[in-house]
Amino acid sequence: MNVMLRYLLEKEIKQFVRNSFLPKMVVMLPLMAMLIFPLIANFEIKNINLCVVDHDRSIQSQKLIQKIQSSGYFRITDVAESYQRAMLQVESNNSDMLLEIPVAFGKDIEQGTSTNVLIAANAVNGVKGGLGSSYLTAILQNFSVDIATKIQLPKAMPQGAGFSIIPRFWFNPTLNYKMFMIPALMIMVLAIVSGFLPAMNIVGEKESGTIEQMNVTPVGRFQFILAKLIPYWLVGFIALSIAVLVSRWVYGFKPQGSIVTVYLFASMFMLAFSGFGLVISNYAKTMQQAIFMILFFLLTFIFLSGFYTPINNMPQWGQVLSNFSPFKFIIQSVRLVYLKGCGFADMLPQFFALCGFAVFFNGWAVLSYRKKS
């Protein structure tokens, strides 16, 4: 039995190495995932284009505009003459928001009379609109406090009654979004290399007819499947290591916990997800079918996994469904190790969940592989 496996492995490795595309991909994918994707996969809101309508043109309104500019969140793209003009800017996407400062702004606040300003934000991207208005409102409030203290208005503090609120961000003090995304991106690389690629390989053999040739030989399904998976597991480790090294060198991103734990969990995940790839390859007759099936499930798995949206933010049914996605557990675990320094013992439930997936998918794959139809 082992003898057959040896010959099969030899074949698989030779084929892999000779392929003009795959070995390059194994290196390029983690590089791209670490270098380019973090630049893209970013929900941060920055560089909001603001159009100001300043009916007042006083020293105070100028000061306000300066303050807004120096906050770093906003880019003053235009100073319009009227609300209508500013709205045109927003409609044409030249600006994301507009701020209308009324005529007697400077005079009013110097005298301690309250005054209204209008903020209108493009909320098609709800997050952008919402966060943008909050930022601007906060800046206005700060400005308000500064003036009030200057003219010595009693107790005019919006953060009032004498206490100050100090936010502290643990695990990620600089709120660096990359640190949140990179563990998840590493897992994506792993999934593609250890799940998608072997599945495509097998379906490719189906299309070329070599799988039929193999089915007529005494080779058992265990050996055949194992011979397919082992090289891709190895390659998965390589890809993962490249990702880990690159994120360390380029971003200085080191795991708070032990990297061994990361690899342990990654191994279990690879076992599980490659099983999933195998199941698909058993049912798909052409590569096109395989790609579509994988795409379908991958999309579902990833969305439900907390990759983009934290699971807590999902509706109840989403949270329940997320437990059916192996990605949820592995991404959670890797993030916990990298950002919060958790150890293996802290994450036993996740590990067992991954084991469960591994048993389920691989069992299904072996049982549904038919040498005889």
Binding site: L8, K11, Q15, S208, G209, E212, V216, P218, K372, S373
Partner: protein, 258 residues
């Protein structure tokens, strides 16, 4: 082996392949309709028929690739319904697409299948030179299969199929897409194998190749409508070529080719 309790049983022992009332249905469609035959050791048996007549389906049942809907069969001493994995150890197979690994070299393909069929490691390398020499492409030992011309791939596929000296070799349309000269060449290889005692079971839709076989059967619409030596069939149907014999039988066919 299952006994059927007729005098046929004693005759079957010694046959290298026998089939009785084999059927394969796909839903309402009967691809193979109660076929029966016996094949002797060392025989070259041609399984003829038009495209879509059911030849490949029948072969797939014998080689353990497909489960019969009903019927019995024995190949190399093992039951096709219950012992297909044993069968596989004792046969060779060449599929319609030749199914060699295009991105492996010639000797690597040989080595792979030799190893799988249990040829001891030490023997593989020295034995590889034999067929390559016979085929005349020792120089191509290190060539990737995808660079070989079609005729050479065909010959290589055959060599790989018999490398482990199986009892029986199954060839599914081995001469498809190859020019007539190469086809004749190929049949010489088949003769050499048969001389060494390998039984050859070959399907084809080229009626002229029937002349090369010891016996042939002709399948029409899933049934075997004729089974005998080419000479006897030509006498029976008053034909001068197998082609004529075939046309005589095929006129009744209701199935269209694929």
């Amino acid at each position: 082996m299952t006994s059927i309790g007729t005098d046929k049983t004693t005759q079957q022992i010694g046959k290298v392949i026998w089939a009785e009332n084999l059927c394969k249905k796909f839903g309402a469609f009967t691809a193979v309709d109660h076929i029966s035959f016996e094949i002797e050791k060392g025989e070259i048996f041609g399984f003829l028929g038009a495209n879509g007549a059911g030849k490949t389906t029948a072969m797939r049942m014998l080689t353990g690739l497909s489960k019969p809907t009903s019927g019995k069969g024995v190949v190399a001493g093992f039951d096709i319904n219950t012992q297909s994995e044993q069968i596989k150890k004792n046969i060779g197979y060449m599929s319609q697409k030749f199914a060699l690994y295009e991105d492996l070299k010639v000797w690597e393909n040989i080595r792979l299948y030799a190893g799988i069929y249990g040829v001891p490691k030490k023997e593989i390398a020295p034995r590889t030179d034999d067929p390559l020499h016979r085929l005349g492409f020792e120089k191509e030992k290190d060539t990737l299969v995808k660079s070989l011309p079609l005729g050479w791939k065909q010959k290589l596929a055959f060599s790989v199929a018999i490398f482990h000296e199986p009892k029986i070799v199954f060839l599914d349309e081995p001469t498809g897409g190859v020019d007539p000269a190469a086809r004749r060449n190929f049949w010489e290889m088949i003769y050499q194998a048969a001389d060494r005692g390998i039984t050859v079971f070959v399907t084809t839709h080229y009626m002229d190749e029937a002349e090369y076989c010891n016996r042939v059967s002709i399948m029409v619409d899933g049934r075997i409508d004729a089974l005998d030596t080419p000479k006897n069939l030509k006498d029976q149907f008053n034909a001068s070529t197998m082609d004529e014999v075939f046309h005589h039988l095929a006129r009744k066919s209701t199935r269209n080719a694929d």
